[in-house]
């Protein structure tokens, strides 16, 4: 029988939630790495028991942990992230040049074909890769070497590379996103990169249609259609049908098009989920009602999903990496909140239940479907 394993990163440790395919009874394991910020955990698609975790604090810096038994035991691996060559500068918040400085790993993306290969998206924004299970890390410096690097600027959460999407149909194609530089794509395995921000409009920057400078919050892709991308930008929900070469807004009837998380149904490539957040100055749901919005038409027409979610006095946020889906026949949707709840739906969003209610603030949620 299938099982589901939910990997939850929080501000004070990691938690692993497991259930059978019914997804009604959950076992909660943790906290792992108690007291540390766990920005992200993710398992290898090739070997689901191989899990990588990003562990950090302001006191002791960055650790990368690796498990070979599904999260029961862990071992620290390499934590040396050295920029390639002379790092140079990017723009600071006030527009002055600021040296590139490593701060933390935001996202770990294991390879689709090799459990020893894993990518790391870091702050200050850069992409690293390890081919030895996380022991050693090398920068794919063609990204920062793209001519626009000196013009990148941090978003409110820092200048982080937070999204890494590997194209299942083309091993040389990778999509990444940076706050607040925008989205980029490589078609040669990470050697060279191009910005893919045409069609994005960001009213808060001097040139709303600039090549870079957009605060992309997250991107999602359905593996069966790797040329179709969905984006939650700082403001606006966007869609691309040409692998990011151009974007169209699909915010449609959303109550607000600000938000962080976005994901796609496991079996319906046109079914998309977002969690609208009131605004960039009020990071909580509109009207104190926590609602996921679902579009079955690839955007523009959205329906609120609220059955089982708090509909009064709810002022949590759902961060960019805190939503995920399982691959069971009845697709499960999961998201975590800054209030420490992890909600699950085993019917594609029609109804929800909390798996846990009182974790530390949730930073990330990833789901593994185990057979």
């Amino acid at each position: 029988m299938s099982k589901v394993r939910v990997l939850v990163g929080t501000k004070k440790g990691a938690f692993i939630l497991t259930s059978d395919g019914k997804r009604q009874q959950w076992d909660v394991s943790g906290p792992h790495f108690a007291g540390w910020e766990i920005y992200h955990l993710k398992g290898s698609p090739v070997d689901p028991n191989r899990i990588y975790a990003s562990q950090s604090t302001g006191w002791f810096g960055q650790i990368v942990q690796r498990s070979n038994d599904g999260g029961k035991t862990w071992e620290p691996v390499g934590n040396k992230f050295t920029y390639d060559g002379v790092p140079g500068t990017h723009q600071w918040y006030d527009g002055t040049p600021h040296p590139w400085e490593f701060k933390r790993v935001w996202h770990l993306e294991p390879s689709l074909s090799d459990p020893e290969t894993v990518y790391a998206g870091i702050e200050d924004a850069a992409l690293f890769r390890s081919t030895d299970g996380g022991q050693n890390w090398q920068e794919l410096s063609g990204l920062r070497g793209h001519g626009s690097g000196p013009h990148w600027q941090p978003g409110g959460g820092g200048m982080c590379l937070h999204t890494i999407i590997l194209d299942p149909s083309d091993a040389n194609r990778i999509f990444i996103a940076i706050s607040a530089a925008g989205a980029f794509r490589t078609d040669d395995g990470g050697g060279t990169w191009q910005p893919i921000n045409r069609g994005l409009q960001s009213g808060s920057i001097p040139d709303p249609k600039a090549e870079v400078g957009h605060c992309v919050h997250h991107i999602a892709m359905h593996p069966s259609r790797p040329g179709v991308l969905f984006m939650q930008k700082h403001w606006d929900v966007m869609r691309s049908d040409d692998a990011g070469d151009s974007w169209q807004e699909v915010s449609g009837n959303l109550p607000t098009d600000f938000g962080f998380a976005i994901d796609v149904h496991a079996h319906e490539p046109e079914t998309v989920y977002v969690v609208p957040i009131k605004s960039d100055s009020e990071h909580f749901p509109p009207d104190g009602k926590l609602r996921v919005y679902r579009s079955r038409s690839g955007g523009n027409e959205w329906e609120p999903l609220s059955n089982g979610l708090p509909q009064e006095n709810c002022y949590v946020n759902v961060l960019r990496d805190a939503m995920s889906v399982d691959r069971l026949d009845d697709c499960g949707i999961y998201f975590g909140t800054t209030g420490g709840q992890v909600y699950a739906s085993s019917d594609a969003g029609d109804s929800w239940m909390p798996i846990v209610r009182d974790l530390p603030s949730v930073l990330s949620v990833e789901v593994q479907t185990l057979t």
């Binding site: 910020e37 920005y39 604090t57 302001g58 006191w59 002791f60 810096g61 650790i63 934590n79 040396k80």
Partner: protein, 101 residues
């Protein structure tokens, strides 16, 4: 033997309980202690001082014989009582600090 007291989180990371006892070759300085510590516990590399610059992380302090030696040269000899093992070398996390996303 040199006695080193680590913050709780680093003891957990290194899988040690209580004090760490180290053999330090040559002059006993913050640098030679940290070199020996990181050699024996490689998972601590980068957690106390930067991998490349070897500078102390900002929210950590070094104490010896009730003196804050954080701002001394990393090559300054530590007191004889630390070198003799009668007093520990303490690595202490600041009460303030930490970052949130």
């Amino acid at each position: 033997m040199i006695r080193v007291i680590l913050p709780q989180h680093l003891r957990t990371l290194a899988h040690v309980n209580g004090e760490v006892l180290l053999e330090v070759e040559g002059q006993v300085t913050p640098r030679s202690i940290l070199d020996a510590l990181e050699s024996r516990y490689p998972m601590l590399q980068g957690t106390i001082r930067d991998h490349t610059t070897l500078e102390r992380r900002p929210f950590l302090r070094f104490f010896a014989c009730e003196q804050d030696v954080s701002h001394e040269s990393p090559d300054s000899p530590l007191p004889d009582s630390v070198a003799a093992g009668s007093e520990p070398f303490l690595i202490i996390g600041a009460i303030a600090g930490g970052l949130c996303p």
